[in-house]
Symmetry: C2
Subunit: 436 residues, 2 copies
Amino acid sequence: MSAFREDGAAALDWLASYLEDVLERPVMARVEPGEIRAALPPSPPDAAEPFAAVLRDLDEVLMPGLTHWQSPRYFAYFPSTASDPGILAELLAAGLNQVGILWRASPALQELEEVTLDWLRQLVGLPEPLHGHIEDSASSGLITALSAARAAAPDRRVVVCSEHTHSSTRKAARLLELEVRETPVDDAYALRADDLDLADACAVVATVGTTSSTAFDPVAAVADRAGEAGTWLHVDAAYAGSAAVCPELRHHFVGWERADSVGINPHKWLCVPMDCSAFFTRRPDDLRRAFSLVPEYLRVSEEVVSLSEFSSPLGRRFRALKLWAVLRCHGREGLQAIIREHVRLAALFAQWVGDEPGWELSAPYPFSLVCFRLEGSDERNQELMERVNESGEIFLSHTRLGGRFVLRLAIGNARTSESDVAFAWDVLRREAATLD
Amino acid sequence: MSAFREDGAAALDWLASYLEDVLERPVMARVEPGEIRAALPPSPPDAAEPFAAVLRDLDEVLMPGLTHWQSPRYFAYFPSTASDPGILAELLAAGLNQVGILWRASPALQELEEVTLDWLRQLVGLPEPLHGHIEDSASSGLITALSAARAAAPDRRVVVCSEHTHSSTRKAARLLELEVRETPVDDAYALRADDLDLADACAVVATVGTTSSTAFDPVAAVADRAGEAGTWLHVDAAYAGSAAVCPELRHHFVGWERADSVGINPHKWLCVPMDCSAFFTRRPDDLRRAFSLVPEYLRVSEEVVSLSEFSSPLGRRFRALKLWAVLRCHGREGLQAIIREHVRLAALFAQWVGDEPGWELSAPYPFSLVCFRLEGSDERNQELMERVNESGEIFLSHTRLGGRFVLRLAIGNARTSESDVAFAWDVLRREAATLD
């Protein structure tokens, strides 16, 4: 047996065992800052080591420093799942090592990316024609969108959003030297369309499923205003966009079909391993205007527009392979079942919180995130979060809504079941009881 | 056996067989534009399909559209190798699915990235202290560098480079609305330091190993001038930087130890699968000034600066795992042996070309790329390239030097041996003989 087959079997066995037992591990890493660094050799080896040594140190050195995103009891930030077909497709992509710098460097990479993005477009109910490509992150997608918007209206230097718009919009605006103008939000933390001021705005960002509380901005009203003002509308649906595979949840998205660009992260709620952020636009020519630059050594005889002409990076990984594998091996129905179950579990958890004296819900829960808190001070809630996380039994995170420190229980790992959510509720109540 | 173990064994077997037989396949894909797209279903399936169907269609549908970057007879652009430990580490990274949005989300991801970048720093002989992190591509690294340079000198809006500087510098400058000023090159296609005009320049980009011809700019002289002018010096060593693991090749890099930032792509010539681009800087505070933005939901009790504060993306993949595996399983000596052999083979090929009547060398070959041409017209050389590539036996690319169409034979796949290079030379002469 060759070394690759032998080492590969060992790696696969290691990973299968990890995934089978991940529930047993403390969800949040328990190390102190610098602890992992100190456990690693300060210099690389001179001589080759066997791959078995890497696997050994993964267990002995790195494992305590891993936070287990694959655990069914991971409820922090937005959980994400690498499901089996996505994991194995990444193995294949690494082995094939396609580098998509232009079409002839990998026709299959480019065309599979175009096809799978069109599949995703159909799954979430967006209209055609729509250009689609994959970015590494929604942050990069924001840069792509705002850059195209700026190129389309170079005299306008303002980006409009709300205080609950993801920080990546502000980060992209800083990179592009655009001013950010914030629109107030309503009681549900959604942008108030009546207060939109689009003067000198090259772009407005509306969010469906904000990171803080999964609020959804009134996209249709924003689209009306953006249309009147000739302002580029980007819809950030990084987390919630995946929910649009369920027709009964699409009412939250009404109007996004009129957006100039839309971002959805299949690596968040659609079972695709990091990283896979989908970018759609009905104005691909504006993207090319902002990004296309073909040097001599990439000029060839076939007339195909390379995907690198639509955003910053020249080389692209074969990310489409994992999206393809996931969409096929789960199927539309499989993905719908996962999303529906998460939405059901969130509503169930919210009901438990709402019914429990001393606890309160802090925001609506249109998707699979519940924002809640113990009655009383911020310090009490912060202390509760740290205790719960340090227990290792579950992992959750926080935000600030209406000035108050609020806990976030985000359901989004495909392995999470009702018993895991019930367990989380038990842990929360148990730790809360020890607080005073 | 669980489905994951069973499907994983099938995927691993498929990949091992692919890598064992990759030499037998036509190197450049032979499909027409649109052919792969047309062979794929127009819509995603409703019901789940088995993973075996993905493997089957990888063979039956996608395979003709793959250009085989893993082939030892791939000599186009800059070849890159995914070596065994890198491939298997990607499997593990996908399965662990760490998402590095902040330290506590994966302490091991952040600290392993810091440690492996320091290992790489030591391997290529750069001085400490140096901040290092991983980007997806050198293009993104250019954005990071120029963005920090602009933040450090906001009144200067010029980036200086040469006509042979990679297109990613121009692309980044466009994104950042900086003007590009080109410095002339000498007969070896290196930037002429005497002609540098750094007035109003926030940044100057010097390249070690240009994409066209692997020319190396006089970095020490540029560093002198940049130091006097207070201009940020970025050294783009995306391809050639890996060669600095060999002390005898470091003379091409003299001066880069004074750069403000340096980019090296281990996914090019250091056996790491796409994507892994190393970014080093001695001015991390300027990067943070340009990029740091921590929203409430990411504020936590531990005082650790997250790697997301040094560049655009918020979420990061566990890319350090493959770099770690490669550096350990090849070791310093193993990596040196690969680079040395490639440099030796390039010199050997150049000697064959130089000794053959009717052929000419077109540029110096300090690393592992040889630029050459048939005497005569550009059309003849272009026709030669297309015939050779269409034969499927080898794959190479071209550039334009001094106005002439020039062939590029780039050696950089770890599987390439002297017999593959000799084979390439045979194919080139055979096809050239059929030209007139």
